[in-house]
């Protein structure tokens, strides 16, 4: 598979389609699985890791869904290419930075990714656009069934699927929904909302940026426990809270339009203005401004800009994508200049962007 081709395409999850896609960016489910006949990755020797990688790669290729996957040898990739896969959410940061034999199998629309030798021998991920946990669940359970037929997953009568970290044992499932909540951030209600989520043992973290720092008002909600409840119950646990958050965000957006119309219009217009004219701009500022413009488009304050375009820019203005698109190595300062140039060219070509008023 040619990685450069990825920068031309847009992953399915960025299409800006699917239910509630004005607020819900994507729905993701992942399953942690291990082979019974090998030590877990952290304790596996280099030779073990090579055998695990080969065993899984060969077996997955024999599963019906496995034939349509592209396999990428992550261990042999250059850093910028690994980073590219992280930016597209096809592998985790940990997988990119790990050592030894490892790989990822990806389907054509970038909905399914199978990480080999991450923290567990196998991490299956399904990523769908908008609020589509049921779609992601039915797809991932099909993939899991097919691989489970050709691979002996480590399983224990009492503890379920055995994982390297006890925080994942049992179902090995992590259900997450990525939300865009700018109005809750602007109206300073976001912390209150998240404190209530912690009480029902859901985890919240900022999507982009290092650590817990949320950037661009994107947040990820996921289950914290994996044992003692069925997969369907855990999917439902996350699924149930999403409509509540959507409702809060919608109300906050209505409030902003009703009470502070001029102010909000000014804010999103300025954000849009900077994106179209800046000469140098960091990834962080870009994310923040794109977030505001995204809200402006959804509130009808900015015309002629497609949500799918904004979603795509969120990924394509990140460092590895920018470097691949430009085809040259860049240092940080050059990155900021190239990013600004890329944004100007993009909006010039797209035209429009005029206020509908």
């Amino acid at each position: 598979m040619k990685l450069d081709a990825l920068t031309q395409a847009t992953g399915e999850w960025l299409k800006g389609t699917g239910p509630e896609s004005d607020i819900v960016m994507s729905s993701r489910i992942r399953l942690a699985r291990n082979l019974a006949q090998f030590p877990f990755v952290a304790r596996a020797s280099d030779q073990d890791r090579e055998e695990i990688e080969r065993f899984l790669r060969e077996r997955i290729a024999t599963a019906p869904m496995g034939r349509d996957l592209d396999y990428i040898d992550v261990g042999r990739l250059e850093e910028v290419d690994r980073q590219l896969l992280v930016e597209r959410q096809l592998i985790s940061r940990e997988h990119a930075e790990a050592q030894g034999a490892r790989g990822v199998a990806i389907d054509k629309v970038e909905q399914v990714s199978l990480m080999i030798n991450e923290e567990d021998h196998l991490r299956i991920q399904c990523l769908h656009s908008g609020l589509d946990l049921q779609g992601a669940w039915s797809q991932i359970s099909m993939v899991d069934d097919q691989i489970g037929c050709v691979v002996p997953y480590a399983f224990h009568e009492r503890w379920g699927y055995l994982t390297a970290c006890p925080t994942n044992v049992g179902t090995g499932i992590r259900v997450s929904v990525m939300l865009h909540l700018p109005a809750l951030v602007i109206t300073r209600q976001i912390d209150k909302v998240f404190r209530s989520l912690h009480k029902i043992s859901l985890a919240v973290r900022g999507l982009y940026g290092e650590g817990s720092q949320a950037m661009g008002d994107f947040y990820q909600i996921s289950n914290q426990t994996t044992l003692g409840r069925t997969e369907e119950e855990l999917v439902a646990q996350v699924g149930e809270v999403v409509p509540v958050l959507i409702d809060y965000e919608r109300r906050a957006r209505e409030f902003l339009v009703r009470e502070t119309q001029q102010n909000v219009h000014d804010q999103v217009s300025r954000a849009f203005g900077i994106l179209r004219t800046a000469q140098t701009i960091t990834a962080e500022e870009t994310m923040q401004l794109l977030s505001r413009v995204r809200m402006g488009v959804l509130l009808g304050l900015i015309g002629d800009v497609k949500i799918a375009d904004i979603n795509s820019l969120l990924v394509r203005t990140q460092p590895a994508h920018l470097q691949k698109i430009r085809g040259i190595e860049l240092d940080t300062k050059d990155h900021n200049i190239e990013r600004a140039r890329y944004l100007r060219q993009h909006f010039e070509a797209a035209g429009g962007g005029a206020s509908p008023n």
Partner: protein, 177 residues
């Protein structure tokens, strides 16, 4: 050792795991209880927004019990409980059997449950059992085979190799190239 929050002796030694980072806490009984309650409600003064897979990994033991426990090692992969506590990652599937008694309170604390109720591998067609304990035993057999070869006990090594092959064949795992 003294409690980190007061002058009473520390009797609870807690290992916290947050997205791969390990933090050790040494607390007296009162502070341990307060800490665990706070962890359970997921709150505290600063609601943590970080650590997707937070949930404390907690081991409550007296110092003496802990010292003994730390030396316990897995028969298959050889990891000690001490190593697990330090790294926060288990060594192999057998650890859930070997350390079952020690892991139970910890898992209960993380998940509020001690039994899997979700999906199970469908091995009906192959006639294999659901539990993969037998297949996991090849991890220990491989280790023993390496030792036998090291001691130039080739007869023993051959026996072990054949045992491994038998088990792997039953589980449809092809022998190594």
């Amino acid at each position: 050792m003294k409690c980190q929050k007061c002058d009473k002796p520390a009797v609870f030694h807690i290992t916290e795991l947050e997205t791969g980072e390990v933090r050790e806490l040494h607390l007296c009984e009162d502070h341990a209880r307060a800490y665990l309650n706070q962890a359970e409600t997921g709150g505290g003064e600063e609601p943590s927004q970080g650590g997707g897979l937070t949930g404390p990994l907690t081991v409550g033991q007296t110092a003496d019990e802990l010292a003994l426990l730390d030396k316990k090692a897995c028969d298959m992969c050889g990891i000690t409980f001490f190593e697990f506590r330090n790294q926060g990652r288990l060594g192999c599937p057998h650890d859930y059997v070997q350390f079952e008694r020690e892991l139970e309170p910890l898992i209960s604390n993380i998940h509020g449950a001690t039994r899997h109720t979700g999906r199970r591998p469908d091995r009906a067609a192959t006639g294999q059992p659901e539990s993969t304990a037998e297949l996991t035993s090849v991890i220990g057999l491989r280790e023993a085979m390496r030792t036998a070869i090291g001691q130039e006990d080739y007869e023993r090594a051959r026996e072990l190799r054949d045992q491994i092959r038998d088990i792997e064949a039953r589980w449809h795992v092809p022998p190594k190239a």
